[in-house]
């Protein structure tokens, strides 16, 4: 039994503790919600485009030729696509007001999925309402904690976010280096032999892009398929840049190499580049794709694609199927400008000759990234003054796993004429010489 004085001391202690806690609460100062941003940061002064971002684009009030938007097949201002979108607007209005599970599925969506599956010659396709969310939701639907994913170093940010959401083990291999990938796979095999029970339930995936956004190179798909069967890993192919570009009919890198489409477990692409719409899709066998209808987060918990965008994509697909000749034309233009831009002093061309989106990097870096970025921005601004609209490739410097060097991204589209390509090449040459020397 505590005496009166002991009880008194206890009460005082509790009171003191309470007051101490209140003091701690008073004293605590959190960081500001957002750190201040310098007023002259380039991102705060976007290039404002007035009017459609098509072949002739009006940037900050000046009319230029567009070498920056990913409008590969020139379908952004195609009258047929606009007419199809208009017809859909008249029938359905704009929004769908619901996710796919709750009366947000329109017959246009089912049509588009059907057409995409038939075009890519797979069993099934599933559409998402945003390009970024497509691969970022597809990867975590299959790969969970404890699974292993082998991914290329130059993978784009959407893939990185998908991998982060999946909580799996990530193993990076050097860009397009199949020997490095094989080494990692062999190491994993040795690990498996130590613990066969765990190996029986650990899924393995290889995630690659058809045409890499960050480097403009093509992945060596035939070797990848060989490695797939040898080491029993599934391949997820991200074809945002190669869909509608590579291959005889625009079916992507599988058609380019002549590989059976069933060998690739999942092909994901976005419709924002070649198809001039918004959104993305995944296609493959029903066994694989159907799973996303219940576990793809961006599919189940998000509103469906507005029908006018789906109708625009269907019409764009129709155009692609009717004129398979445009792909050869695009390849020819890529080769032409690639050749024309070789030999600029101070800048080197990074990317394959048949990639419509390639980079111009500084041959020798000045040593600081900021300085490089400023030099390249100077080149871009001067080209803009001479009516060639270019842009630097933008990255979030602190968030990227393997930050690519600063570069100017040049995009070739079907609508650019040969004179315009020549003029662009010579403008860039002149400006680069003026700025870098």
């Amino acid at each position: 039994m505590a005496t009166a004085t002991e009880q008194w001391v206890l009460v005082e202690m509790v009171q003191a503790l309470y007051e101490e806690k209140e003091e701690l609460i008073e004293e605590w100062q959190p960081e500001p919600l957002v750190p201040p941003v310098p007023k002259d940061h380039p991102a705060l002064n976007y290039n404002i485009v007035s009017g459609p971002p098509s072949h002739k684009i009006v940037v900050n009030g000046k009319e230029c030729i567009n070498f920056a938007s990913f409008n590969f097949l020139g379908l952004l201002d195609n009258p047929r696509v606009k007419a199809a979108a208009l017809a859909s607007l008249k029938k359905y209005g704009v929004g769908t007001c619901g996710p796919r599970g709750f009366y947000g599925t329109f017959d246009v969506h089912l049509d588009l999925e059907d057409r995409l599956a038939k075009f890519m010659k797979t069993e099934e396709a599933i559409i998402y309402s945003y390009g970024f969310a497509t691969i970022a939701s597809a990867i975590p639907a299959y790969s969970k904690r404890g699974d292993i994913v082998f991914v290329d170093r130059a993978a784009c940010f959407a893939i990185q976010k998908g991998l982060q959401a999946s909580r799996s083990d990530i193993k990076l291999f050097k860009h397009n280096d199949m020997a490095d990938l094989e080494r990692l796979l062999k190491e994993q095999e040795i690990e498996d032999q130590k613990n066969p029970r765990k190996a029986r339930v650990t899924r393995r995936f290889i995630v690659v892009e058809g045409l890499y956004m960050n480097t403009g190179t093509i992945c060596p798909l035939p070797e990848l398929v060989k490695l797939k069967y040898k080491y029993k890993a599934r391949i997820f192919l991200e074809e945002s840049l190669s869909f509608g570009v590579l291959g005889e009919h625009g079916r992507g890198v599988t058609e380019h190499y002549g590989i059976k489409i069933d060998d690739i477990d999942l092909i994901s692409a976005n419709m924002e580049n070649a198809l001039a719409s918004i959104g993305g899709f995944c296609c493959g066998r029903s066994f694989v794709i159907d799973h996303q209808r219940l576990s793809g987060q961006g599919y189940c918990f998000s509103a469906s694609l507005p029908p006018l965008l789906a109708a625009a994509a269907i019409e764009a697909l129709n155009i692609m199927e009717e004129n398979p000749g445009i792909f050869a034309v695009l390849k020819e233009k890529c080769r032409q400008i690639h050749k024309a831009l070789q030999g600029i002093s101070g800048l080197k061309v990074v990317g394959e000759s048949l990639s419509p989106a390639f980079h111009l990097q500084l041959e020798e870096s000045t040593g600081s990234r900021e300085q490089d970025v400023r030099l390249l921005q100077e080149i871009v601004d001067q080209c803009m003054n001479r009516s060639i609209a270019l842009t630097q490739a933008r990255y979030l410097e602190k968030e990227e796993k393997c930050l690519p060097p600063p570069s100017i991204r040049v995009v070739v589209t079907v609508e650019q004429t040969e004179e315009e390509l020549e003029r662009a090449a010579s403008t860039i040459k002149e400006v680069a010489q003026a700025v870098l020397l």
Binding site: P30, D262, F287, P306
Partner: protein, 489 residues
């Protein structure tokens, strides 16, 4: 138990739980044993409405039958799996390629147990395709299954003029084309459908700037930024605001996009009970006093994630109390108004207006344009320095394409309508009619004896059925009645 009219559960007696009061005293309401306090506000000048929320518990026999239903379903599921494995029953599900049979299986057996055996039986209630605009009446495509929901076949017939209680078309702005949508047609013809670039590169159109200024004016804040997808707005901006060393206090029933955004940010996440300010206060006190778990260093920032109206519960967040807590403990507040913007509040400005609070008190106001505005996309609004920071650091601004121009124009048109800038009072009338309809519908359902969750002013009405097989009986019953109501399940 089951009414012949449609498969609902009566809760027996009807308690009169609607005590309206214009005073500011505390009242206790009793429904089926659950006591909900009438909320009292400290200062009578900013909020003097009584919050009436109800989360009735089902009677005991209903709970017993529900568990029995799931138990029997599971047992049958095991039996069918056994039969399928031994080849006695044909397996209709898609299977792995035979060249890849020796790969590690893509799905764990148990992951798909629920899908194969329980979900398949009642799968025809979801994903119903429609073929008209999602207005108050819409057309549903008729679809039958010949093999117990494994595959569907369209008969080609269309069920016309079905009353729509399933689409989130709160203000009826997602409708068939009429002359007032002329501007959208013009923008579509001028700009096209796609943008093919990101905000930082060549994707910022003048339409986006116009839209952002209008959104900021609508919400009465300094600045706003719009994004192409509502889900992505959360999952790509929360990681930009908080990171390692920060604390996120998230409500139990937050939407998947908020949970994904919180996870991707790398911050520590702690969950507080749904809408329970005592639970939140306890977490806040512990966080400020004790700091990070092992190192005891102070947290860099604390962010509270709540939603305006919760879509699965129909409850409205207790905003005045949370704002008082946030001020005391110096935390930051992020409110996701996906279901409440345009639908709640006397002029449709969201939960801040509903409670009569100043929108500047909430640090980050987020919302989507999918529901009340009949378009797609999301926005984040708040102080200018917040929005400037997001313009520079948001993942969506750097890597994802911007909003399509006709969609932006539809949002501009909807905003002008709701704000009354087009010269009519149509917008205001719609908001007021929505509020009246909500209250009437909830009141009538409660009079009929259904169990409804949530706040009386929330337009999302969860009607509890409890048993999985009742869902099936319910839709069959509803389809047969003349009214052809299509409820969302």
């Amino acid at each position: 138990m089951a009414n012949p009219g449609g498969g609902a559960v009566c809760n027996g007696k009807l308690h009169n739980h609607k005590k309206q009061s214009n005073g500011s005293q505390s009242r206790n309401c009793t429904k089926n044993g659950i006591v909900k306090e009438g909320q009292q506000n400290g200062k009578p000048h900013f909020y003097d409405k009584l919050i009436v929320e109800s989360f009735e518990e089902a009677p005991l026999h209903v709970m017993v039958f529900t568990y029995m239903g799931y138990g029997i379903g599971t047992l049958f599921g095991y039996l069918r799996d056994f039969l399928r494995n031994w080849g006695i029953e044909k397996c209709n599900a898609a299977v792995e390629r035979k060249e890849q049979k020796d790969f590690v299986p893509l799905y764990q057996d148990f992951e798909n147990f629920y899908t194969r055996n329980l979900y398949m039986r009642i799968r025809d209630n979801w994903n119903r395709p429609i073929c008209s605009a999602p207005g108050p009446l819409f057309d549903v495509m008729e679809r039958v299954s010949d093999d117990y929901n494994w595959t569907f076949r369209f008969t080609g017939r269309v069920i016309k003029d079905v009353i729509n209680m399933g689409s989130y078309n709160f203000l009826g702005l997602a409708a068939k084309y009429d002359e007032s949508m002329r501007t959208i047609k013009d923008v579509l013809e001028a700009y096209g459908t796609g943008v093919a670039s990101t905000r930082h590169e060549m994707g910022t159109l003048d339409k986006h700037k116009e839209l952002e200024d209008l959104v900021a004016k609508f919400l009465n804040v300094e600045a706003a930024m719009v994004f192409g997808m509502g889900f992505a707005t959360n999952s790509m901006n929360i990681p930009a605001l908080v990171g390692k060393g920060c604390l996120i206090l998230s409500d139990e029933l937050n939407h998947a996009s908020l949970v994904l955004g919180a996870r991707l940010s790398g911050a520590t996440i702690r969950i507080f009970k749904h809408n329970n300010t005592q639970s939140l206060e306890k977490l806040l006190r512990d966080a400020v006093i004790y700091g990070q778990p092992r190192t005891r260093r102070a947290w860099k920032k604390i962010l509270i994630l709540v939603e305006g109206v919760y879509s699965m519960e129909g409850s409205i967040v207790h905003l005045p109390q949370i704002i008082a807590l946030k001020k005391k403990y110096k935390a930051y507040l992020y409110v996701d108004e996906a279901h409440s913007i345009g639908a709640v509040g006397p002029t449709g400005r969201g939960v801040t207006e509903f409670f009569g609070l100043d929108p500047h008190e909430v640090d980050v106001l987020m919302g989507t344009f999918t529901k009340s505005f009949g378009a797609s996309g999301g926005y984040i609004a708040g102080r200018k320095d917040l929005v400037d920071y997001l313009r520079v650091h948001s993942h969506s601004a750097v890597y994802a394409s911007s909003m399509s121009p006709p969609i932006a124009e539809q949002i501009i048109r909807s905003l002008k309508l709701i704000m009354g800038l087009d010269g009519t009072t149509q917008g205001l009338q719609r908001v007021q009619r929505l509020a009246k309809n909500t209250r009437y519908f909830r009141q009538r359902l409660q009079e009929m004896g259904f169990i409804i969750y949530g706040n009386e002013n929330a337009s999302v009405v969860p009607l509890l059925l409890y048993m999985p097989d009742l869902k099936h009986a319910w839709t069959k019953g509803i389809r047969k009645t003349k009214g052809r109501v299509m409820a969302s399940l």
